[in-house]
Subunit: 324 residues, 2 copies
Amino acid sequence: MAKIAVTDGLSDEAVRILQSAGHEVHIKHHEQSEINNGSLSKFDAVVIRSATKLLSQQIMASVSDDGGIRFIGRAGVGVDNIDINTATKMGIIVCNTPGASTSSVVELTIGHLLASTRHIVTADRTMRNGEWSKKRLRGSEIGGKRLGLIGLGRISRGVAQIARSFGMEIHAYDPYVEEVPGWITMHEEVDTIFSSCTHISIHCNLTEETANLVNSSRISMMPGIGLDGTKCGNHIVSCARGGIVDENDCSDALSNGQLSSLALDVFSTEPLIESPLMNHDGFHGSPHIAASTLEAQSRIGTEMASLIIQFFKTGKTDYSLNNV
Amino acid sequence: MAKIAVTDGLSDEAVRILQSAGHEVHIKHHEQSEINNGSLSKFDAVVIRSATKLLSQQIMASVSDDGGIRFIGRAGVGVDNIDINTATKMGIIVCNTPGASTSSVVELTIGHLLASTRHIVTADRTMRNGEWSKKRLRGSEIGGKRLGLIGLGRISRGVAQIARSFGMEIHAYDPYVEEVPGWITMHEEVDTIFSSCTHISIHCNLTEETANLVNSSRISMMPGIGLDGTKCGNHIVSCARGGIVDENDCSDALSNGQLSSLALDVFSTEPLIESPLMNHDGFHGSPHIAASTLEAQSRIGTEMASLIIQFFKTGKTDYSLNNV
């Protein structure tokens, strides 16, 4: 039976499932310095979220002559905090739970989009300040507008389906996908998403290619006038990863009116303490909570528990991010 | 050609259409005392929103021996500010624009619902206060839950369709409708909506029957546990009319935890200056902006202009709220 380190938390239900299967679960955060000193090498598996970084140095420190970790579980989706190549070289399998948080991220994305176009956050703030700001809070509809999706994976397709039910026309850019439903207009270049869409939602990974993809130059291409002729302005939302949206450029675009709204769940530096974005009514933010729902955390936990149980029983999993 | 008083504003486009058709448009707010003194009796038609009240006294003061108003246009939906019976007796036709704002209200309703279940307003407020409150902002998904609709007219059906695309199960109470799609479960009693639904949206008119319909007793029936078994709590949203939701009872229910969230666009007293609701993170509000979009105001204006032009050309309209 395996010794499992859980460094960033896991659902109670998942812990019970693992224990029932006979595994030993140690829930405790390991500081980066402890990991560098080999604190994980006494375990057979480690389950992390985004707070723990397992880059090359940490992975090398987590294996030992007589064993060490053979399984890295990312309870969630993004694996930019794991050096998968090093894991593969060391024979460590890496699994995440890519589908478990999809619906939660889809719902927050649509929520942020509507909160932007209808000034929901400003409405409440002004009301709490004793102001009845009905006149200056005229919004616009998302129906009849174009939604541009950067990246067209699971979450993005979920957003597309809901947005379509609101009457949006769906456009997307993703050089890595092939099968796409006929009602999504695919673009060959990311720039034409910006030049044709008043509403844009980000759903790609953070890579060298996508870093600061949303910048002044591209925002300046956005049309401001909707497909239906409404002067609805330009709106951007991201629940993907910090660093894809250039926050300073967006702050400038909110100042000069090229951008009407920006809603972000992710930031280039987290926790976000200070930002020029805070000066704008057109901005609202949330502290990386797209997967923070009871449902997503429960599904993430039970999926991760299944993967671990399967791995330590059979030596492999139905699904993994690398082949070892 | 008709002299038209516009007391609460109308879109520029609508004014141009009316002028092009040869009508005289006077845009000016009339105080209640002026109307009582007959200020509208010099006009052939009046177009109001919600700010102007045309009850029996005001209507009687707006007709004169040699004419006075023959057309009351409500640029919008709700006509609780117009005494239609008196208008009918005096031979005045009353028209509103019921479909023009439907999409806008549907979008705000869904936006408010998601803002509630995902703490969007609190997320931004805490972030602006320098707090990264990720841990305490765990939300829940609307997918897999029951949505109870009180009233099943145009707006409610639009909300139902979108909510269904999120994976909600739709329940409704409306003693006045007959044809309902098979995927909506109709209830015979309003109480069973409360006892079976964790999420409720209000879409009825304000009448004696619906005043304070949402009260402590009914909120206490709500299940707190979703159809999918998630302890998601209870959530209520209203973009209908103030007075249907008992705000004091809701404040109590937010205090004792029976209600997890309440989002209101309408209040028993507007403008809302002070309210015990403001003490709760679970509450957020907007200042009656459900129809305040560029699109709705444009459609309201052009529909109203068409009705007026038709009336003064043919003596009738394709659609009206009374028969004269």
